[in-house]
């Protein structure tokens, strides 16, 4: 995620696609718990980028645009899934049975990811962008369209909430 974040070279769609497709799908999958849905969101983001490439100055601007587009797309995807998610009480939907089973054998990871899925959307977005995307507060603020101060406070509250959830699980 950080590879192209400071790229000020002219926009190269092929390079951007090769470098950013997988990281963006990973970001989306962490936000929506569904690799297929994340791929759809990323695909939409690149289509949107293609149409707006003339208004984006360089790779940095394009990366920021793609990141915001993926976050917004994931919000939209979650909104569409709202009905089923509400009835499922935010129980995770495994995206790949075999891989996920192996993954969940790692108990701590499974507990952490389960707790992450129970956080409100914005808290989850902030934690994913911070801990997985390794973005700065300013970059997270830009991606989510919120003040940097809100990023900091949200991150703090998210970790507290995460602890509460983890405490309830143990």
């Amino acid at each position: 995620m950080t590879t192209a974040s400071h790229d000020t070279s002219p926009l190269d769609l092929d390079r951007l696609y090769a470098e950013q497709w997988a990281p963006l799908v990973r970001l989306g999958a962490l936000l929506v718990d569904d690799v297929g849905a994340a791929e759809d969101v990323v695909q939409d983001a690149f289509v949107s980028l293609y149409r707006r490439q003339d208004s984006l100055r360089n790779g940095y601007a394009a990366s920021a645009y793609l990141r915001s587009a993926v976050v917004n797309g994931c919000r939209s995807a979650l909104r569409h899934r709202g009905v089923v998610r509400r009835t499922m009480h935010l129980v995770a939907t495994p995206s790949d049975g075999a891989d996920r089973a192996r993954f969940e054998a790692v108990t701590d990871d499974a507990q952490l990811m389960s707790a992450l899925r129970q956080l409100p959307h914005q808290m989850r977005e902030v934690l994913v962008l911070r801990h997985w995307g390794a973005l700065t507060e300013a970059e997270i603020a830009e991606s989510l369209g919120i003040p940097a101060g809100t990023v900091k406070s949200t991150s703090s509250r998210a970790l507290s909430r995460l602890r509460e959830i983890l405490g309830g699980q143990s």
Binding site: R51, S95, D109, Q122
Partner: protein, 349 residues
């Protein structure tokens, strides 16, 4: 695990995310880059990928590349970037209502690329007679698939004006309050204890076009927000949006709505629709369905309307083996390119 220090929790969280995401999406999963078109000014048609979820898992990855390719190669949609307007200098003597404390949309950022417009502004093909002292500041990259302008004094976002150019899923769908499923933190900045409450929902004529109007409130920990919008769901699609803890902000929305003239609709079908299937007839490669539109605050208490629209759904838009039945109760959400249905969402399906 709860005994971890903050630093240990940070580290464990990052590692857990890395392990899961790398396992789920290895770099080898990346499909080939599509053949980007190089002609200047070429437009593309958005082909929603929702139907891909119905494809057999074994061809999913290949389909991803194919769909992207189709998106790039297709042409014909009126989705060219909205033209940047120029100030005309004329001013409409409309007085804005009292200042609001927070009228920014949920995702606004201070980035801007164009000079502010005042007087009579041209925003994505629509003409807006701005109130005295107001300006329109272009913020093009706020929302994917949309061009956005902040309307207010000194570039404030008292009213947000969107032109939506990406049709279908992720396109000109309004911010519909759907019970507790709306991301309340998106509006409140933190989680709200209860979901939004729909105050008003109706259709109305705005600037020469049919628009959907919605107004709802949301009790945030910091106070009650009033949120309202007009949405023009057909091409070219627009949205006028306000959000504030100052309830009379709706006056600003009405002021802008009355001062706006939209270009005529160019497409026959709305970009999205939702409702109950009243009839379904097998025709050719799919079904002709009659959808009775439902709008409202929640899937469980949508308000029935008397608007019925016939759509043709090819079987490729539906899950394999899916048969449209349960007439009168089957709920569908549809997306179109303006002339035909292009994807179907079955809530909970």
């Amino acid at each position: 695990m709860n005994a971890m220090s903050d630093e240990q929790l940070d580290q464990a969280l990052g590692q857990a995310m890395q392990r899961q995401s790398l396992q789920d999406i290895p770099a080898t999963r990346t499909p080939p880059a599509p053949p980007w078109a190089t002609e200047a000014g070429r437009t593309v048609t958005y082909v929603p990928a929702k139907s891909r979820r119905w494809l057999h898992a074994g061809i999913g990855v290949a389909a991803a590349a194919a769909v992207v390719t189709a998106v790039v190669l297709a042409t014909g949609h009126n989705g060219s970037p909205a033209p940047g307007g120029t100030p005309t200098g004329s001013t409409v003597p409309t007085t804005p209502s009292s200042p609001t404390t927070d009228a920014t949309g949920p995702t606004e950022t201070p980035a801007t690329t164009d000079a502010p417009q005042s007087g009579t502004a041209t925003l994505g093909g629509a003409t807006v007679a701005l109130p005295t002292g107001w300006s329109a500041v272009h913020r093009p990259n706020i929302l994917a698939g949309a061009d956005t302008w902040c309307l207010g004094e000194g570039g404030n976002c008292r009213v947000t004006f969107h032109r939506h150019d990406v049709v279908g899923y992720g396109g000109p769908e309004p911010e519909v309050p759907t019970g507790t499923t709306v991301a309340t933190s998106k509006y409140c900045g933190t989680d709200a204890p209860v979901g939004p409450v729909l105050i008003d929902s109706r259709t109305s004529t705005v600037g020469g076009r049919e628009a959907e109007y919605r107004k709802w409130t949301l009790d945030c920990p910091t106070g009650t927000l009033t949120i309202a919008q007009y949405v023009l769901p057909s091409a070219p699609a627009y949205e006028i949006f306000v959000k504030s803890d100052y309830a009379p902000v709706v006056t600003d929305l009405e002021t802008i709505a009355k001062a706006t003239t939209f270009p005529a609709a160019t497409g026959g079908l709305r970009y999205y629709d939702q409702g109950h299937v009243e009839s379904a007839t097998a025709v050719g490669d799919g079904y002709d369905i009659v959808l009775r539109r439902y709008t409202g605050s929640d899937v469980n208490d949508w308000v029935a309307t008397d608007v019925r629209t016939t759509y043709h759904l090819t079987t490729t838009l539906l899950p394999p083996g899916y048969v449209i039945g349960n007439l009168g109760r089957e709920v569908l959400q549809l997306y179109t390119d303006g002339t035909a249905a292009t994807s179907v969402v079955i809530p909970g399906g």
